[in-house]
Symmetry: C2
Amino acid sequence: MNFDTGSLTYDDKGLIPAIAQDVETGDVLMMAWMNAEAIRRTLETGRVTYWSRSRQAFWVKGETSGHVQEMVDFRVDCDRDCLLLTVRQSGPACHTHRRSCFYTAVRGGDEVEILAPMA
Amino acid sequence: MNFDTGSLTYDDKGLIPAIAQDVETGDVLMMAWMNAEAIRRTLETGRVTYWSRSRQAFWVKGETSGHVQEMVDFRVDCDRDCLLLTVRQSGPACHTHRRSCFYTAVRGGDEVEILAPMA
């Protein structure tokens, strides 16, 4: 692999935000964090792998839930400090069992739930 | 406005990542940062306003370039530590004059430019 994970800009904890977008619907599913090793594993295995800040451990998406993310495309932004992954998502991406983590909208100054948990 | 910007989780610099998604194409255009006051201004004016970390100043998107972002919908994720804005984007979102900042893909281990600057 010619791509150098060291060419990216990480924050002071060595992390970079990664947005996951559904390749079929275009919906933004979630945003989580990767470090250089999580990026390497994601690119090599095709299984999207984040760094869990709460658990301080690698987080192979869906490893316990079965709701895996298969990487389809991996993109870097102009500043090289944010990633966009298009993914094939099995089931819900959110731990609340909703397809996307972004299920709350603010409309007219009020919060509105716009997405129900999947059956 | 009943929505309380204090209910969100900010990082140690008082910032929260905000993803901008094109309401027409579904393309993810960029990711930038907001603080509580930028969120308030965005919701009140409908003009997407970020906090520029490099300039340490409010950044009304398009104020100098004319490439404004009109807020269409404002969403909060399950952890309340990331925002997703659907926007109506005038012209390119990226300072490189590309429609999206995510114009570089990593495919087969190599970087590939997948989006040209707009005319």
